[in-house]
């Protein structure tokens, strides 16, 4: 489809771009978050509406094959917009992010959303490359956006260096693939890989590309940036970064293995499953010893990415569907955790577990929501996380991956240890200072209620989400 025709289907993304520019310039001189925040939310609402009311339902190849608009893109697109809206709401809370950077940070977040959507929809390695770099650069910059915050800047530096390193490997892999097949768009590459006999070289380039994906998904041992970044970045940024890039990485993995390397799925499955087991074990062990809350959540996100990968690496219909469901549940729960932690925080991002002592008595609403989110992440019924885990385990058992399931079940049990550690601190400790009952600001309240209800509803009545996940499989 030619460029002009494609633009007609590109409404959502164009809205995002225009809105991002407007937000960038809507920095209010008085220093309130209202203007920029509203602009961003308005953009996201319009984009969401545009995405939802998408006319055609079949797969489209836009811009000459560079952008694939199919069920998966639509699913991820909608999810990214929702996640971005949640992060913007979170950012509008006083204390979540520095006032002076709010407008730019929000604008960057909108650009990031755009980049992520393009990443999910890429049909050509050039798009993939550019989108990955766009997402990465924006992430590095947004992490460091904090006045006087040494830790955030240090985290941004680490993110940048490690990220560029892994990206360079990924680019090298793409260049090797180009050399092997002589073209860069997914279809031609697939054809060439399937016919050609150079399996080793193709496998090598696949492994290099997986390095980049593994970095984004914070798999072991590419994960070292994740705890630092999620701990030190401002809350809304960290919340978004925990959810959206992982989702995009999942999307890109699915696209790679279904459109480019379908002949190498068994090989890819082995690699991914090995990484998955390593990630699960490492994340669980690392989380156990943590006393800093944000870092613990970072390691928990790493473990969640492991479970996601478990579903993805099966490459079966049930596995992918379960992974999509799990992704949505994990996204909502993780965003909620960050929101609730912001409500309960005393020292900003440097909260230790002791700072949450008796928080349930200080702010029962936020603590209750945090309980819901943590229990969903831990995988307890009747919440969405339980169903997600159940289906991933079921899909894995169906494929006969018993070892994987046993490991995942074990780490899941370890997970309960550290999630309950937080819960126990919240509830079962006498409140040391019960008098500082800080009320939760309104945008945060709305966000918390929406996310908590989403998580519970998805757990009790999952059919709507399952249908969405199924439609994402084209």
């Amino acid at each position: 489809m030619s460029t002009l025709q494609s633009l007609a289907h590109f409404k959502t993304e164009i809205i995002l771009l225009i809105g991002a520019f407007i937000t960038l310039f809507s920095d209010s001189p008085k220093g309130s978050r209202f203007l920029a925040g509203t602009a961003a939310l308005l953009t996201l609402t319009l984009a969401g509406v545009a995405a939802f009311t998408e006319a055609s339902q079949q797969s489209l190849q836009l811009f000459g094959g560079f952008f694939t608009l199919d069920g998966a893109t639509r699913f991820f697109r909608f999810g990214m917009i929702l996640a971005a809206a949640a992060s913007v709401l979170l950012g509008m809370t006083r204390g979540a992010i520095a006032l002076s950077f709010f407008a730019e940070s929000t604008a960057l977040m909108l650009f990031l959303t755009f980049g992520l959507i393009v990443l999910c929809a890429s049909g050509h390695f050039l798009t993939l490359l550019l989108a990955v770099e766009m997402v990465s650069l924006l992430s590095y910059l947004m992490t460091g956006f904090s006045p006087q915050n040494t830790r955030a800047r240090e985290a941004a530096l680490k993110y940048l260096l490690l990220g560029s390193f892994c990206s360079a490997f990924m680019l090298y892999g793409i260049s090797l693939l180009f050399g092997l097949t002589g073209s860069l768009d997914f279809d031609s590459v697939r054809a060439a890989v399937q016919d050609g006999g150079q399996r080793t070289a193709a496998a090598a380039s696949l492994l290099f590309i997986l390095t980049g994906a593994g970095f984004k998904l914070s798999l072991f041992p590419f994960h070292f940036w994740a705890p630092d970044v999620y701990e030190a970045a401002p809350s809304p940024v960290a919340a978004y970064l925990t959810v959206a890039p992982k989702a995009a990485a999942c999307a890109i993995l699915i696209r790679l293995f279904s459109e480019v390397f379908p002949s190498m799925q068994t090989f890819g499955a082995e690699v991914l499953q090995t990484l998955c087991i390593l990630t699960l074990l490492a994340a669980s062990l690392l989380a156990l010893a943590q006393t800093r809350v944000r870092r613990l959540i970072a390691y928990s996100s790493m473990a969640q990415a492991g479970y996601l990968l478990m579903g993805l690496s099966l490459f079966s219909r049930e596995g992918l569907q379960a992974a999509f469901f799990y992704l949505a549940a994990y996204g909502a729960a993780n965003l909620g955790v960050f929101a609730a932690l912001t409500a309960l925080s005393q020292r900003g991002t440097q909260d230790h577990l002791e700072d949450l002592t008796g928080a349930a008595w200080r702010n029962p609403f936020a603590a209750g929501c945090l309980t819901v989110f943590l229990l969903s992440l831990a995988g307890l019924p009747p919440l969405a996380g339980f169903l997600g885990k159940f289906w991933i385990f079921a899909a894995a058992l169906k494929e006969g991956e018993v070892f994987l399931v046993v490991t995942a079940a074990l780490t899941s049990m370890i997970g309960i240890f550290y999630y309950f550690k937080i819960l126990r601190t919240l509830y079962f400790s006498d409140p040391l200072i019960a008098l500082c009952a800080a009320p939760t600001p309104l945008p945060l309240r709305i966000l918390l209620i929406l996310l908590a209800s989403a998580v519970t509803a998805a757990g009790l009545f999952p059919s709507w989400l399952l249908r969405a996940a199924e439609s994402a499989l084209r």
């Binding site: 390193f165 090598a204 690699v271 019924p381 009747p382 049990m413 079962f428």
Partner: protein, 613 residues
């Protein structure tokens, strides 16, 4: 509206609403939360009676909704109301209602009154949902919620460290069982394609025995063993007595621990496919029964004795399922619910009146506490199996099943009956008979308020009479009504004689040991008794730690028994994992160089591994 109220799931909806009300409006309602919870249970009971009669008249009721559907992947969930679930519903809601009324009196002065009742109502909701579930999915979800409520209620007085630790231990032990259950469930669903109870028997018969199904069956049994505290998961139940007495009565005697047995009854078609699975169940159940009966003899606290007794009775029920007679197991479950709840409430009364449950400091309470002692006597005798009380009939059913299965198990269960009679009668005698001057506490004891004695007396009547519908005097009406298994060998004389003799011997032994032969042989058997406790309680605790930490326990089991029991089972696996974690976390060194090196090493490693492709 009326049909909605009488829907089979409404016995679960009423307590759920009560729980929500109590949670939200607890501060305003204060003491009235007890009324709300009890009223909800009363309504559940009324509806369950109605449903019971309807089932008796019209047969099985079923209904389900498509819970989720994605392509050809469909899961339905709903209710199954057959005579089994209808009668269990009635029993549970009745006992629950009585205990909630009881708790209004016994927990009157507790500042956390409202939290107690909201959690208790949530538990009732989960339990009734579990009973009415038509498939393993809803069953499992309710099962998990019950585990959560149990944790919250055992650790109700969480400021007491012992209670918090006990709650932890209970949660972890049952969680391990839950994991096994989940795995078994998944395996079952993957091979049978369904999780509905009614479909299980046909599909299982069609598929025939296989290693996969047997493994699934064993895992399901592991899950049931976790919840119903069979060996080696039994370590959590005695410690769970740290919770308030109504909690022990409801959850750890009558309902939640019975849920495991209920699971086994419902999944019996799958379990029965492989005779080896059944033999495992029979062996574990019998072993638990005998071991914990012996441990009950040694216990010096009322509630701990009753806890061991519960373990022993549950073992008998599990064994009975192993003997392929789930109907007899269910009958015993019902009668046990009545008399065990009664006994716990009696213990609560004693605790309330004297402030202690140490048997060494009690005695002669029969005079000041006539009502309690009378009811407790009925309960003890029912537990001992004296005819014509309910315990006799149900126990006889189990013994008959054992007799038909193997003489060895029959002998073992006879031994258990003897021990049961021994410790239950002795318990009664030590508390309520004898000279009152054994302790100062007993002198000031008075009878408890009506809210605590009326439920006791009601249960006393039930404990006495509830066995009649299952006895030959009414032609085994109960078993036919439930209709799930052979109606037992109408007792052969060997069984009848055996059970009567065991009961009589036990009662006589108790009377003698409390009177003329007091203290006889105590020193000689002390060593054996201590060994028993080590084998029965500490070894499973150690094995649990071994499982979690991979340590060698041989050298450590002898020394520091107490600290290990408290600290070890809960803390040690956690502590060891923490140690490993503390060491491992150093890899996150903070140096960018290390990060880059690790990533590079990973790439090289992946390449090296992948190049074999």
């Amino acid at each position: 509206m009326v049909t909605l109220l009488l829907h089979p799931l409404s016995p679960a909806a009423f307590p759920l609403a009560a729980a929500a009300l109590n949670f939200i409006f607890g501060k305003q309602l204060k003491a009235k939360t007890a009324w709300i919870s009890s009223a909800a249970s009363l309504m559940s009971f009324a509806v369950s009676i109605f449903l019971l009669t309807r089932t008796a008249a019209h047969g099985v009721m079923q209904g389900s909704i498509i819970w989720l559907e994605a392509g050809n992947f469909k899961i339905t969930s709903g209710f199954l109301l057959d005579p089994l679930s209808a009668s269990f519903l009635a029993v549970v809601s009745l006992v629950g209602m009585l205990i909630q009324i009881y708790a209004a009196g016994s927990m009157k002065d507790d500042p956390e009154f409202t939290r107690f009742y909201s959690t208790l109502s949530l538990f009732m909701a989960a339990m009734t949902a579990l009973i009415a579930a038509d498939g393993l999915l809803l069953f499992f979800m309710a099962w998990e919620i019950m585990g959560l409520c149990s944790f919250l209620l055992i650790g109700f007085w969480f400021q007491k460290e012992a209670a918090a630790k006990a709650a932890h231990k209970a949660f972890l032990a049952t969680r391990l069982g839950d994991l096994c259950l989940l795995l078994g469930l998944l395996m079952l669903s993957s091979s049978l394609g369904t999780l509905q109870f009614t479909a299980l028997s046909e599909k299982a018969a069609a598929l025939g025995a296989s290693a996969w199904l047997s493994a699934a069956a064993l895992l399901i049994f592991a899950g049931a063993a976790g919840k119903s505290a069979q060996f080696p998961f039994h370590i959590w139940l005695p410690d769970a007595m740290e919770g308030p007495t109504p909690v022990s009565a409801l959850i750890h005697a009558a309902t939640m621990v019975a849920a495991g047995i209920y699971l086994l009854i419902r999944t019996f078609p799958v379990l029965a496919l492989d005779a080896r699975v059944l033999s495992v169940i029979a062996a574990v159940g019998t072993f638990t029964a005998v071991l914990t009966a012996l441990l009950a003899l040694r216990s010096q606290e009322i509630k701990k004795t009753l806890a061991f007794s519960t373990l022993s009775q549950l073992g008998m029920m599990a064994a009975c399922i192993g003997f392929s007679n789930p109907g007899a197991a269910f009958f015993h479950l019902v009668t046990h619910a009545f008399f065990k709840a009664l006994l716990f409430m009696g213990a609560g009364n004693v605790l309330h009146a004297c402030g202690t449950q140490n048997l060494g400091r009690l005695g002669g309470l029969g005079r000041p506490m006539k009502l309690t002692s009378g009811a407790f006597l009925v309960g003890s005798l029912a537990l001992a199996g004296l005819p014509p009380l309910s315990g006799f009939w149900s126990k006889e059913g189990i013994l008959a099943a054992a007799h038909g299965y193997s003489p060895f198990y029959f002998g073992a269960l006879l031994l258990t009956s003897f021990l049961t009679a021994l410790y239950s009668a002795r318990l009664y005698l030590q508390i309520f008979e004898g000279s009152a001057s054994r302790s100062a506490d007993a002198e000031t004891a008075r009878e408890c308020p009506k809210s605590m004695t009326i439920p006791l007396l009601t249960l006393g009547v039930l404990a006495a009479a509830a066995g009649i519908p299952g006895s030959p005097w009414m032609g085994y009406f109960f078993q036919t009504f439930i209709g799930i298994s052979p109606h037992g060998d109408p007792a052969s004389y060997a069984v009848l004689a055996g059970s009567l003799i065991a009961c009589a011997l036990g009662l006589a032994g108790a009377w003698l040991s409390a009177g003329p032969w007091r203290g006889l042989g105590l020193k000689e058997t002390a060593g054996a008794g201590r060994f028993l406790e080590k084998a029965g309680m500490e070894l499973p605790n150690s094995a649990a730690r071994l499982f979690a930490s991979g340590l060698k326990t041989a050298g450590r089991a002898a020394a520091c028994t107490d600290r290990l029991l408290l600290d070890g089972a809960v803390m040690l696996p956690g502590v060891l994992l923490q140690l490993a974690a503390a060491g491992f976390r150093k890899i996150q060194s903070g140096f960018i160089l290390h990060y880059l090196l690790a990533a590079f090493a990973a790439v090289i490693g992946l390449l090296a591994a992948g190049m074999n492709f």
